[in-house]
Protein backbone atom coordinates (compact mmCIF):
# COMPACT_ATOMS: atom_id res chain seq x y z
CA UNK A 1 0.00 0.00 0.00
CA UNK A 2 1.31 3.41 -0.91
CA UNK A 3 2.16 5.74 1.97
CA UNK A 4 0.49 9.13 2.49
CA UNK A 5 3.65 10.94 1.44
CA UNK A 6 3.90 8.97 -1.79
CA UNK A 7 0.29 9.79 -2.61
CA UNK A 8 0.88 13.47 -1.83
CA UNK A 9 3.95 13.52 -4.07
CA UNK A 10 1.94 11.95 -6.90
CA UNK A 11 -0.80 14.51 -6.34
CA UNK A 12 1.74 17.32 -6.46
CA UNK A 13 2.87 15.94 -9.81
CA UNK A 14 -0.70 16.19 -11.09
CA UNK A 15 -2.38 12.88 -10.20
CA UNK A 16 -5.99 13.48 -9.16
CA UNK A 17 -6.35 9.79 -8.43
CA UNK A 18 -3.70 10.03 -5.71
CA UNK A 19 -5.76 12.75 -4.03
CA UNK A 20 -8.92 10.65 -4.33
CA UNK A 21 -7.10 7.71 -2.72
CA UNK A 22 -6.03 9.96 0.14
CA UNK A 23 -9.63 11.16 0.60
CA UNK A 24 -10.85 7.58 0.53
CA UNK A 25 -8.30 6.62 3.18
CA UNK A 26 -9.24 9.37 5.66
CA UNK A 27 -12.90 9.91 4.81
CA UNK A 28 -14.46 7.71 7.48
CA UNK A 29 -12.29 9.13 10.31
CA UNK A 30 -12.87 12.73 9.20
CA UNK A 31 -16.59 12.23 8.68
CA UNK A 32 -16.83 10.38 12.01
CA UNK A 33 -15.04 13.24 13.76
CA UNK A 34 -17.55 15.81 12.48
CA UNK A 35 -20.56 13.53 12.87
CA UNK A 36 -20.05 13.41 16.64
CA UNK A 37 -21.01 17.03 17.17
CA UNK A 38 -23.20 17.94 14.22
CA UNK A 39 -26.98 17.71 14.07
CA UNK A 40 -27.16 15.85 10.80
CA UNK A 41 -25.11 13.67 8.47
CA UNK A 42 -25.49 16.34 5.75
CA UNK A 43 -23.83 18.89 7.99
CA UNK A 44 -20.99 16.49 8.84
CA UNK A 45 -20.54 15.69 5.15
CA UNK A 46 -20.45 19.40 4.34
CA UNK A 47 -17.74 20.02 6.94
CA UNK A 48 -15.74 17.04 5.67
CA UNK A 49 -16.00 18.37 2.11
CA UNK A 50 -14.78 21.78 3.20
CA UNK A 51 -11.79 20.16 4.92
CA UNK A 52 -10.83 18.13 1.84
CA UNK A 53 -11.25 21.17 -0.43
CA UNK A 54 -8.80 22.99 1.84
CA UNK A 55 -6.50 19.98 1.69
CA UNK A 56 -6.68 19.99 -2.12
CA UNK A 57 -5.22 23.50 -2.14
CA UNK A 58 -2.84 23.05 0.78
CA UNK A 59 -1.32 19.75 -0.34
CA UNK A 60 0.06 21.32 -3.51
CA UNK A 61 2.43 23.23 -1.22
CA UNK A 62 2.82 20.51 1.42
CA UNK A 63 6.45 20.39 2.61
CA UNK A 64 6.38 17.03 4.43
CA UNK A 65 7.45 18.61 7.72
CA UNK A 66 4.71 16.80 9.60
CA UNK A 67 2.68 13.68 8.99
CA UNK A 68 -0.37 14.16 6.83
CA UNK A 69 -2.52 12.46 9.47
CA UNK A 70 -1.52 15.04 12.10
CA UNK A 71 -1.93 17.86 9.61
CA UNK A 72 -5.45 16.71 8.74
CA UNK A 73 -6.39 16.19 12.37
CA UNK A 74 -5.25 19.71 13.24
CA UNK A 75 -7.34 21.07 10.36
CA UNK A 76 -10.34 19.08 11.64
CA UNK A 77 -9.94 20.47 15.15
CA UNK A 78 -9.71 24.02 13.81
CA UNK A 79 -12.79 23.47 11.66
CA UNK A 80 -14.71 22.05 14.64
CA UNK A 81 -13.69 25.06 16.67
CA UNK A 82 -15.07 27.40 14.01
CA UNK A 83 -18.25 25.33 13.77
CA UNK A 84 -18.82 25.35 17.54
CA UNK A 85 -18.17 29.10 17.71
CA UNK A 86 -20.78 29.58 14.99
CA UNK A 87 -23.16 27.36 16.99
CA UNK A 88 -22.58 29.55 20.03
CA UNK A 89 -23.60 32.67 18.10
CA UNK A 90 -26.56 30.88 16.57
CA UNK A 91 -27.74 29.99 20.06
CA UNK A 92 -27.17 33.50 21.35
CA UNK A 93 -29.12 34.98 18.44
CA UNK A 94 -31.77 32.20 18.66
CA UNK A 95 -31.31 31.38 14.98
CA UNK A 96 -31.76 27.65 15.33
CA UNK A 97 -34.87 27.47 17.47
CA UNK A 98 -36.96 25.95 14.72
CA UNK A 99 -34.74 23.07 13.74
CA UNK A 100 -34.79 19.87 15.69
CA UNK A 101 -31.88 17.45 15.83
CA UNK A 102 -32.24 14.43 13.57
CA UNK A 103 -29.69 11.96 14.85
CA UNK A 104 -29.85 8.53 13.34
CA UNK A 105 -30.27 5.60 15.78
CA UNK A 106 -30.70 7.91 18.80
CA UNK A 107 -33.89 8.52 20.66
CA UNK A 108 -35.19 12.08 20.55
CA UNK A 109 -34.28 12.54 24.21
CA UNK A 110 -30.73 11.36 23.63
CA UNK A 111 -30.48 13.64 20.65
CA UNK A 112 -31.59 16.64 22.70
CA UNK A 113 -29.15 15.76 25.47
CA UNK A 114 -26.35 15.51 22.97
CA UNK A 115 -27.31 18.84 21.43
CA UNK A 116 -27.52 20.43 24.87
CA UNK A 117 -24.04 19.14 25.71
CA UNK A 118 -22.45 20.41 22.47
CA UNK A 119 -24.23 23.75 22.86
CA UNK A 120 -22.67 24.01 26.32
CA UNK A 121 -19.24 23.02 24.91
CA UNK A 122 -19.63 25.78 22.31
CA UNK A 123 -19.74 28.37 25.08
CA UNK A 124 -16.41 27.28 26.61
CA UNK A 125 -13.23 29.30 26.06
CA UNK A 126 -11.34 28.35 22.89
CA UNK A 127 -8.63 26.15 24.45
CA UNK A 128 -11.04 24.24 26.70
CA UNK A 129 -13.41 23.78 23.77
CA UNK A 130 -10.66 22.31 21.61
CA UNK A 131 -9.43 19.97 24.35
CA UNK A 132 -12.93 18.68 25.10
CA UNK A 133 -13.57 18.18 21.39
CA UNK A 134 -10.36 16.18 20.97
CA UNK A 135 -11.05 14.07 24.04
CA UNK A 136 -14.65 13.36 23.07
CA UNK A 137 -14.28 12.71 19.38
CA UNK A 138 -10.96 10.91 19.13
CA UNK A 139 -10.10 10.12 22.75
CA UNK A 140 -6.79 11.84 22.04
CA UNK A 141 -4.17 11.35 24.78
CA UNK A 142 -3.19 14.48 26.71
CA UNK A 143 0.33 14.32 25.29
CA UNK A 144 -0.99 14.55 21.74
CA UNK A 145 -3.37 17.38 22.67
CA UNK A 146 -0.54 19.26 24.38
CA UNK A 147 1.72 18.94 21.31
CA UNK A 148 -1.03 20.07 19.00
CA UNK A 149 -1.94 23.13 21.06
CA UNK A 150 1.66 23.98 22.03
CA UNK A 151 1.05 23.67 25.78
CA UNK A 152 2.32 21.36 28.52
CA UNK A 153 0.62 18.05 29.24
CA UNK A 154 -0.33 19.23 32.74
CA UNK A 155 -1.83 22.37 31.35
CA UNK A 156 -3.95 20.25 28.97
CA UNK A 157 -5.15 18.11 31.89
CA UNK A 158 -5.99 21.17 34.02
CA UNK A 159 -7.88 22.80 31.13
CA UNK A 160 -9.83 19.59 30.56
CA UNK A 161 -10.88 19.37 34.20
CA UNK A 162 -11.82 23.05 34.25
CA UNK A 163 -13.90 22.50 31.14
CA UNK A 164 -15.70 19.51 32.66
CA UNK A 165 -16.42 21.46 35.85
CA UNK A 166 -17.78 24.39 33.83
CA UNK A 167 -19.94 22.04 31.77
CA UNK A 168 -21.38 20.43 34.89
CA UNK A 169 -22.28 23.89 36.21
CA UNK A 170 -23.86 24.94 32.93
CA UNK A 171 -25.88 21.78 32.53
CA UNK A 172 -27.13 21.89 36.15
CA UNK A 173 -28.73 25.27 35.37
Amino acid sequence: MRTDNELIKDFQEGSEKAFNDLVDRYLSSTYGFFRKFTDSCEEAEDLAQNIFIKMYKALKKFRFESEFKTYLYRANVNMSNTYLRRTKWKNILHLDQVSEPSFVDDSVEDAWMKKELWDAIATLPRRQRMIITMRLTERSPYREIATMLGISENSAKVSYHHAVATLKEKIKK
Binding site: V23, E45, A48, Q49, L136
Partner: protein
Protein backbone atom coordinates in the same frame (compact mmCIF):
# COMPACT_ATOMS: atom_id res chain seq x y z
CA UNK B 1 -27.96 14.95 32.67
CA UNK B 2 -25.16 12.66 33.74
CA UNK B 3 -22.15 14.21 32.07
CA UNK B 4 -19.80 11.22 32.35
CA UNK B 5 -22.46 8.93 30.91
CA UNK B 6 -23.06 11.37 28.08
CA UNK B 7 -19.31 11.62 27.39
CA UNK B 8 -19.03 7.84 27.18
CA UNK B 9 -22.05 7.69 24.91
CA UNK B 10 -20.49 10.18 22.50
CA UNK B 11 -17.14 8.40 22.59
CA UNK B 12 -18.73 5.03 21.88
CA UNK B 13 -21.20 6.31 19.34
CA UNK B 14 -21.40 4.25 16.16
CA UNK B 15 -21.07 6.39 13.10
CA UNK B 16 -22.84 5.33 9.95
CA UNK B 17 -20.69 4.68 6.89
CA UNK B 18 -20.47 7.18 4.09
CA UNK B 19 -20.33 6.33 0.40
CA UNK B 20 -16.82 7.43 -0.55
CA UNK B 21 -17.41 7.39 -4.32
CA UNK B 22 -20.34 9.79 -4.26
CA UNK B 23 -18.54 11.87 -1.63
CA UNK B 24 -15.51 12.27 -3.92
CA UNK B 25 -17.70 13.16 -6.91
CA UNK B 26 -19.56 15.78 -4.84
CA UNK B 27 -16.27 17.04 -3.42
CA UNK B 28 -14.79 17.75 -6.84
CA UNK B 29 -18.04 19.31 -8.08
CA UNK B 30 -18.12 21.63 -5.07
CA UNK B 31 -14.42 22.44 -5.48
CA UNK B 32 -14.91 23.38 -9.15
CA UNK B 33 -17.94 25.51 -8.24
CA UNK B 34 -15.95 27.27 -5.49
CA UNK B 35 -13.06 27.90 -7.88
CA UNK B 36 -15.42 29.30 -10.52
CA UNK B 37 -17.07 31.53 -7.94
CA UNK B 38 -13.78 32.91 -6.66
CA UNK B 39 -12.50 33.37 -10.25
CA UNK B 40 -15.66 35.36 -11.06
CA UNK B 41 -15.20 37.45 -7.94
CA UNK B 42 -11.53 38.15 -8.73
CA UNK B 43 -12.25 39.04 -12.37
CA UNK B 44 -15.07 41.31 -11.22
CA UNK B 45 -12.75 43.14 -8.83
CA UNK B 46 -10.03 43.34 -11.52
CA UNK B 47 -12.49 44.73 -14.10
CA UNK B 48 -13.70 47.30 -11.62
CA UNK B 49 -10.11 48.39 -10.85
CA UNK B 50 -9.28 48.66 -14.58
CA UNK B 51 -12.41 50.73 -15.18
CA UNK B 52 -11.56 53.05 -12.30
CA UNK B 53 -7.96 53.50 -13.48
CA UNK B 54 -8.93 54.07 -17.14
CA UNK B 55 -11.75 56.39 -16.13
CA UNK B 56 -9.38 58.41 -13.99
CA UNK B 57 -6.73 58.55 -16.72
CA UNK B 58 -9.30 59.57 -19.35
CA UNK B 59 -10.61 62.39 -17.20
CA UNK B 60 -7.07 63.58 -16.62
CA UNK B 61 -6.36 63.55 -20.36
CA UNK B 62 -9.20 65.97 -21.21
CA UNK B 63 -7.94 69.44 -22.25
CA UNK B 64 -10.91 71.15 -20.69
CA UNK B 65 -12.83 70.67 -17.53
CA UNK B 66 -15.39 67.93 -18.35
CA UNK B 67 -18.14 70.16 -16.95
CA UNK B 68 -17.64 72.53 -19.88
CA UNK B 69 -18.84 69.81 -22.31
CA UNK B 70 -22.42 70.27 -21.28
CA UNK B 71 -23.74 71.12 -24.74
CA UNK B 72 -24.27 68.42 -27.32
CA UNK B 73 -22.04 70.01 -29.96
CA UNK B 74 -19.01 69.54 -27.70
CA UNK B 75 -17.98 73.21 -28.03
CA UNK B 76 -16.52 74.24 -24.73
CA UNK B 77 -18.88 76.78 -23.29
CA UNK B 78 -17.39 79.66 -21.37
CA UNK B 79 -19.49 82.32 -19.79
CA UNK B 80 -18.92 85.97 -20.59
CA UNK B 81 -17.34 87.76 -17.67
CA UNK B 82 -19.76 89.84 -15.61
CA UNK B 83 -18.27 93.18 -16.60
CA UNK B 84 -18.54 92.54 -20.37
CA UNK B 85 -22.01 91.08 -19.99
CA UNK B 86 -23.36 94.11 -18.07
CA UNK B 87 -21.69 96.42 -20.59
CA UNK B 88 -23.35 94.64 -23.52
CA UNK B 89 -26.73 94.58 -21.76
CA UNK B 90 -26.49 98.32 -20.97
CA UNK B 91 -25.42 99.05 -24.54
CA UNK B 92 -28.31 97.01 -25.96
CA UNK B 93 -30.80 98.75 -23.62
CA UNK B 94 -29.47 102.16 -24.59
CA UNK B 95 -29.60 101.40 -28.31
CA UNK B 96 -33.14 99.99 -28.14
CA UNK B 97 -34.31 103.01 -26.09
CA UNK B 98 -32.76 105.55 -28.40
CA UNK B 99 -33.67 103.91 -31.68
CA UNK B 100 -36.99 102.34 -30.61
CA UNK B 101 -36.21 99.57 -33.09
CA UNK B 102 -34.91 96.26 -31.89
CA UNK B 103 -33.99 95.20 -35.45
CA UNK B 104 -31.81 98.27 -35.87
CA UNK B 105 -30.00 97.36 -32.65
CA UNK B 106 -29.46 93.81 -33.85
CA UNK B 107 -28.26 95.17 -37.18
CA UNK B 108 -25.80 97.33 -35.27
CA UNK B 109 -24.45 94.35 -33.37
CA UNK B 110 -24.10 92.56 -36.71
CA UNK B 111 -22.17 95.48 -38.09
CA UNK B 112 -19.75 95.64 -35.22
CA UNK B 113 -19.32 91.91 -35.75
CA UNK B 114 -20.51 91.04 -32.28
CA UNK B 115 -20.62 87.34 -33.23
CA UNK B 116 -16.87 87.38 -33.32
CA UNK B 117 -16.82 88.90 -29.88
CA UNK B 118 -18.99 86.01 -28.67
CA UNK B 119 -16.97 83.49 -30.69
CA UNK B 120 -13.80 84.72 -29.14
CA UNK B 121 -15.17 83.39 -25.89
CA UNK B 122 -15.09 79.92 -27.47
CA UNK B 123 -11.36 80.08 -28.01
CA UNK B 124 -9.83 79.71 -31.45
CA UNK B 125 -12.37 77.41 -33.03
CA UNK B 126 -13.72 79.92 -35.55
CA UNK B 127 -10.33 81.17 -36.65
Amino acid sequence: MNLDKQFKKIQNEDIENIDSQSFIVNLHRKRVENDARSARFISGIASFCILVVFGFLTLNQLAYDPGSFASTDLIPYEEMDTETESYIVDLADYLIDTSNDIWETLDFFDKINFDNVIASNYGDINE
